[in-house]
């Protein structure tokens, strides 16, 4: 088991290097704009542009730039400095991490609770009205992009532009330490919007998985033993949940991708919006830092899921 974990962690590091390389190539070979020109003012002088390129290290060969970047990241945990403000990317990320964690962790809780809850009810009352309505809504939510859903929510519920002014709208986010209640209410809509897609996927998967396990022989055994129906369902859920756990790691990635859009729509000062702004202004170090962080989250989530799986399914043993 220990050897397995070590191997997985080494693979994770290798994956991070690959992610670095891909983002490096994506943004420098196919850049959204030349950062030196963007910084050189309204009427850029070629000399000034050259000078800025030298300062930012953009004049060196690409491979040298990549090597220097990797060295800084993996040896000094230094993600570079923002082209726009010269702040270190590490401190930029640290500043915005609480907002993103508030958003994603809350959404993850909502995703799992709502997804599994709806899935279980649907599976136990298959073809009922509740099941049909739930599955219909889930199909809509899976199909709806976060930015669209976010705008709809703002249009309907936001206290400034909404038709029913019940929830704080875009730009109302405050840190949990400064005002917990305002923090909570300002995140209700972002949580719902961010969780909806994953929750809908989970609801549908749970419905399918539980419908299947409820036909298993061991469910018949549980009934034949005289267990209460509630316990019988617990037997089913325990077995039905395993295939969904494998997907958890992947859904974390989807969730982080969605966070970029949700933070942008709701104007939440998190890593997602940082990433969005960095892409728009060709701020390579910030883009790479945020992408790397997200990749790390996904890789760690997947390793945790695989290790957890060995405990959740005793038949699985890793070598």
């Amino acid at each position: 088991m220990t050897r397995y974990i070590i191997r997985r962690l080494l693979w994770g590091v290798a994956l991070l290097v690959i992610v670095c390389a891909v983002t490096f190539v994506l943004f420098r070979v196919l850049p959204t704009g030349n950062p030196a020109i963007l910084r050189a003012g309204r009427d850029p002088q070629p000399k000034l542009v050259k000078e800025i390129e030298r300062v930012l290290g953009l004049n060196k060969p690409l491979l040298v730039q990549f090597w220097n970047y990797l060295k800084e990241v993996f040896l000094h945990f230094n993600l570079g400095y923002s082209y726009a403000t010269s702040q270190s990317v590490r401190s930029l990320i640290a500043e915005r991490l609480p907002a993103t964690l508030s958003l994603t962790l809350g959404a993850a809780v909502l995703w799992i609770v709502a997804g599994l809850g709806v899935g279980i009810i649907s599976a136990l009352r298959r073809h009922s009205l509740a099941d049909r309505v739930a599955m219909g809504i889930s199909l809509v939510l899976i199909s709806a992009p976060e930015f669209w859903l976010g705008l709809i929510f703002l249009y309907v519920f936001a206290s400034d532009i909404g038709q029913f002014k019940i929830l704080p709208g875009a730009g109302s986010y405050v840190g949990i330490t400064s005002d917990p209640w305002k923090w909570f209410t300002s995140l209700i809509m972002p949580w719902i919007v961010l969780a909806s897609g994953s929750a809908a996927v989970y609801a549908r998967l749970m419905r399918a998985s539980l419908s299947e396990t409820m036909r298993e022989d061991y469910i018949r055994t549980a009934r034949a033993k005289g267990l209460a129906e509630r316990q019988v369902v617990r037997h089913g859920v325990r077995a039905a949940i395993n295939p969904l756990i494998t997907l958890f790691g992947l859904e974390v990635g989807v969730l982080l991708g969605g966070a970029v859009l949700v933070e942008t729509v709701f104007n939440i000062p998190g890593i997602g919006r940082l990433n969005y702004q960095a892409i728009q202004s060709s701020n390579f170090p910030v883009t790479q830092g945020t992408v790397l962080l997200a990749a790390m989250f996904v890789i760690v989530a997947n390793i945790v899921v695989d290790i957890a799986y060995a405990y959740l399914d005793p038949r699985v043993r890793y070598q």
Partner: protein, 342 residues
């Protein structure tokens, strides 16, 4: 008992009657799809949720189980009446420890602490012959062998000392040597606990030693019922003959061939007219396609009932020839000649 299905209405079990008393064993024998399992699941109310229409009575200690509410029936299941199934691997929850599955059975029917229930679980595993039960109680089902799993299933069924144990093909998924062990175990436990057993099987060999009485089922009906000794010594129904001729016997003539029953069990959605067995019966007469035989006691043998349209003396002569090692065709030819002579 009638089920709706995608292809039509399934008449899974039709007009069957049997009874079993404490300390005795009833064997229900028939091919796959003859309604053996459905009738036993119905006893425990486990077919209720599938939209089945059930009529009749299932009387257990004076109570009609069909009229009980779900909660009353739950109190009977696993407590007064327990059941074990064919495939012990799929019948045990793969992700729960064996001990936990035993503990919850004990606790479902009594106000027992977790510690006490665990002690009881260890005791039960010892009772069914699992070595080192105090350690194996924490094993998962996949860590058990097939025989041990079925022992664990039996332990679970016995957790609350049921008065009736329904065993649905308990040995079919097991090796032959393990089969014998499991049957011996069930016999020993029956002696010790005095429970009644209904043993459902397609294998006459399995019930030969254990059953006191045997009911042979075909297409959702009982076609013959008698004491086990009578079924093996003087069977009356051509289907029972077919079952007997299709298993090897040590005491029969060595050169006797095994004769399979031709054809397949009929659809229960549109069963054959008349005697349901007539399409596969080598001795059927044209009128058997129209007349539906009733299960009636034999003259002079009230404990032996059969549903067959053949004349009693014809049946006796046919079986004599078959028992001596003849094929159905030979038996038919001989009886036919005798019939002409007579």
């Amino acid at each position: 008992m009638v089920f709706p299905s995608e292809d039509g209405v399934v008449r899974a079990v039709d007009g069957i009657t049997y009874e079993v008393h404490g300390g005795r064993t009833l064997g229900i024998v028939g091919e796959s799809g003859s309604g053996k399992t459905v009738s036993s699941l119905t006893t425990l109310g486990l077919t209720r949720r599938e939209g089945a229409r059930i009529s009749g009575r299932i009387v257990f200690e004076g109570k009609d189980l069909l009229t009980l509410g779900e909660e009353e029936l739950r109190a009977v299941r696993g407590n007064d009446i327990a059941m074990i199934f064919q495939d012990p691997l799929s019948s045990l929850h793969p992700l729960y420890r064996v001990g936990r599955q035993l503990v919850e059975t004990v606790r479902a029917h009594g106000d027992v602490s977790k510690q006490q229930a665990r002690q009881r679980a260890i005791e039960l595993l010892g009772l069914v012959g699992i070595p080192d039960p105090a350690r194996r109680v924490d094993s998962f089902p996949h860590e058990f062998s097939g025989g041990m799993r079925q022992r664990a299933m039996i332990a679970m069924a016995l957790a609350n000392e049921p008065k009736l144990l329904i065993a649905d093909e308990p040995t079919t998924a097991l090796d032959v040597t393990v089969q014998a062990q499991i049957l011996a175990l069930m016999e020993r436990l029956q002696r010790e606990l005095g429970m009644a057993i209904v043993m459902i099987t397609h294998d006459l060999g399995v019930v030969a030693e254990m059953a006191d009485e045997i009911a042979v089922m075909y297409a959702g009906r009982i076609v013959e019922r008698a004491s086990a000794a009578r079924i093996f010594a003087a069977p009356e129904h051509p289907y029972t003959w077919g079952l007997l001729k299709s298993i090897p016997r040590l005491d029969g003539p060595r050169e006797a061939e095994l004769v399979p029953i031709p054809g397949t069990p009929p659809s229960l959605i549109s069963p054959p007219s008349g005697c349901h067995f007539h399409p596969r019966c080598p001795y059927s007469q044209p009128e058997h396609e129209r007349v539906d035989p009733a299960l009636e006691p034999l003259a002079g043998e009230p404990g032996h009932q059969v549903a067959c349209l053949l004349q009693a003396d014809v049946r006796a002569r046919l079986w004599r020839r078959l028992a001596a090692g003849g094929t159905p065709a030979q038996a038919l030819a001989e009886v036919g000649q005798q019939g002409e002579r007579a």
